[in-house]
């Protein structure tokens, strides 16, 4: 599964993307964020406040309780600020 990071999430983690294989019990975007946060101090610094994060599943914006089964790409990022 491909994980993409944007904006300050990307900066804090120090990478724009990574490939991961979460275990089966990591079944939602929220669970995935918790699981990713345990990978390193940098991940923890970026992902420890899920209420500040938003996500997309295969380029569709989704709530954090969305299942990730079958997803090829999950993006994690702060609230958007375009326009």
């Amino acid at each position: 599964m491909r994980i993409l990071y944007f904006a300050w999430v990307r900066e804090r983690i120090g990478a724009a993307e990574e490939e991961v294989e979460p275990p089966a019990e990591v079944d939602t975007v929220a669970a995935l964020i918790g699981w990713l946060a345990a990978r390193s101090d940098r991940h923890a610094a970026a992902l420890s406040e899920p209420e500040r994060l938003r996500a997309a599943r295969d380029k569709d914006f989704v709530p954090l309780h969305t299942p990730i089964a079958g997803a090829r790409e999950i993006a994690i990022f702060p609230p958007v600020t375009g326009g």
Partner: protein
């Protein structure tokens, strides 16, 4: 006709206005980089692929809600300087009320529904722009 463009190139207003439609009424909104609190540069990051998809969905929603002959959404990405155009949206149709409403809808919803992130440079530092609660309120109007 729907035109969606996400590009690092400067936005050419004359071209965009000409493309945006000749059907009686044309409403546009242009957002530019302004010097808030000493900002000297703006960097626009986005989510390639998802951005174009989100903007196309938005344009299609406008075409479904109002009677329009054209919708344009052009958003610049990458580094920008003071006064540069960040975004241009346009709605054209036979009637002015529909063009005006659709134009406001496009920019209000673009602010909350498309994956762009602004980073400002102030002196030697940079900071990510915080979302504003008022933007959520403006977008909510249209739901």
């Amino acid at each position: 006709m729907i035109r969606v463009l996400v590009s690092p190139a400067p936005i050419d207003l004359a071209d965009e206005m000409a493309l945006a439609g000749q059907d009686g009424a044309l409403a546009t909104f242009t957002g530019m980089v302004r010097a808030d609190d000493g900002v000297t540069e703006l960097m626009l990051e986005h989510y390639p692929g998802a951005t174009e998809r989100a903007l196309t969905v938005l344009a299609e929603e406008a075409v479904l809600r109002w009677s329009l002959s054209g919708v344009t959404i052009v958003h610049r990405v990458g580094p920008m300087r003071l006064g540069d155009r960040i975004v241009f949206v346009a709605a054209s149709g036979a009637h002015r009320a529909e063009a005006l409403d659709a134009c406001a809808f496009l920019i209000d919803r673009l602010k909350t529904d498309a994956p762009f992130w602004k980073r400002e440079r102030v002196g030697d530092h940079h900071r990510w722009v915080e979302p504003r609660a008022s933007d959520d309120v403006s977008a909510e109007k249209w739901r």
